[in-house]
């Protein structure tokens, strides 16, 4: 019951912020319930896929997700994830947790300055965005207005996505935070587009590494079932909220969460293996 309730919360938050909720599921299971870290990570992979599919179904229908950007960037994340899985073992994961935790913590600062920002202003398509027809629009559910947006610094976003994939492959985390960051700070998409497109993409990233966890027997059925059901229900509740929320509200959910994730990564890097 605790697992279900906690997962429900993870699903709600994950669906809004564009992350998989692993950040909540892993500590809940390990610290809260004393589950071995292997099964906790196995369950968090399930939680990521459940959040992604559960939330994205609604967002795709509402046209919030930019499908072209998602498909393009998935090339970068899957390549990154494969690279990460191959070179893992050559590098000390504890060092990686500290490095990426620190990077994330530093990236929080510019976001705090922009926390009230509703839409990025004066963004013009770069040459790649034109060629790949990335610019799009979504309907603001509150005002009924169409919000059109352009996309900039596509190579930067692509590069950051490769790193996000690399982190997933190396550390076995969904890295939704890095994806949101790549689209928000890198390509300057509206926050809701960044968050929902990230949500859509993390399912693919997680599925890419799920094969490994499944064949190693890390996915425990009786843990996975309540986690998946809780997260699915939570994700569906979360989508209701996001569709009607403003971009700056989504930012206010995302930024503190990102700081928490950064700190959790630093803790994992300095304490356990």
């Amino acid at each position: 019951v605790t697992v279900f309730g906690g997962s429900l919360l993870a699903g709600v938050i994950g669906a809004i912020a564009g992350l998989g909720g692993g950040v909540l599921v892993v500590p809940l299971l390990t610290v809260g319930l004393g589950v071995d870290i292997r099964y906790a990570i196995g369950a968090s992979i399930i939680s990521v896929i459940a959040t992604s599919s559960g939330a994205a179904a609604a967002y795709v229908k509402d046209r919030l997700i930019n499908l072209r950007i998602a498909m393009l960037l998935e090339i970068a994340t899957t390549t990154g994830a494969i690279t990460g899985a191959i070179v893992t073992g050559l590098v000390d994961t504890r060092v990686l947790f500290v490095v990426f935790g620190a990077v994330l913590l530093l990236s929080v600062l510019p976001l705090i300055r922009r926390i009230g920002e509703e839409l990025p202003v004066g963004i013009k398509n770069d040459i790649w965005a034109d060629r790949l027809r990335l610019a799009s629009s979504y309907a603001n559910a509150r005002t009924g207005k169409i919000v059109a947006y352009e996309v900039t610094r596509v190579p930067l976003g692509f590069g950051l996505m490769y790193i996000a994939g690399l982190i997933s492959g190396l550390l076995g985390i969904g890295s939704g935070t890095f994806k949101v960051l790549a689209m928000d700070s890198g390509m300057r998409l509206p926050m809701k587009v960044s968050s929902t497109t990230s949500n859509f993409m993390i399912g693919v990233t997680a599925a890419a590494s799920a094969g490994i966890y499944f064949s190693r027997g890390d996915i425990a059925p009786l843990l996975a079932a309540p986690v998946a059901l809780g997260v699915l229900l939570g994700a569906m509740l979360g989508t209701r909220f996001l569709v009607h929320a403003s971009n700056s509200t989504v930012r206010k959910v995302f930024v503190p969460l990102m700081a928490a994730i950064a700190i959790e990564m630093l803790v994992r890097g300095t304490t356990t293996g």
Partner: protein
């Protein structure tokens, strides 16, 4: 970014063609279908587990807390299939998990055909690349036990 009034009659805005295509609806349908199917299987498996072994809960908790004892978890398609024939609750739950895992993969595969259907060659190719990379990482790396 420009904010405009919604055009009457749904006239597409520049760069907005994709959102008037059925791609979004089909993908939403696939994701929703995968999620609901898996949820139903998971609930069935959980209920069956509680009927089969009402006292099993504490045992499971003990096993999951230990890093040395290997619980009996089916790890291959064969093992899951075997358990399904015996109405093994764990195998039914793993089937639900597999349906959930397959959902994003099916979504990518279906997108290839949707872009193809729209004669969007560029994105047909890009999405195919994603599918190949995804399958490489699931099956090849999974089989090698890397990661």
């Amino acid at each position: 970014v420009t904010v405009e009034e919604a055009p009457p009659g749904g006239k597409p805005l520049p760069g907005e063609t994709a959102s008037h295509s059925p791609i979004n609806d089909v993908i939403a349908l696939i994701l929703r279908g995968g999620v609901y199917t898996s949820a139903v299987i998971l609930v069935l498996g959980l209920v069956l587990f509680l009927i089969q072994s009402p006292a099993g809960r504490s045992v499971v908790t003990e096993v999951l807390r230990s890093s040395t004892v290997r619980p009996d978890i089916p790890t291959s398609f064969g093992a899951v299939g075997q358990g399904l024939r015996n109405f093994n609750a764990s195998s039914i739950i793993e089937l639900g998990v597999l349906v959930l895992l397959a959902t994003p993969v099916i979504r990518v595969a279906a997108s290839i055909f949707l872009f193809l259907f729209e004669a969007d060659w560029l994105y047909t190719v890009l999405t195919s690349v994603v599918l190949v990379l995804l399958l490489i990482s699931i099956f090849l790396l999974g089989a090698l036990g890397i990661g």
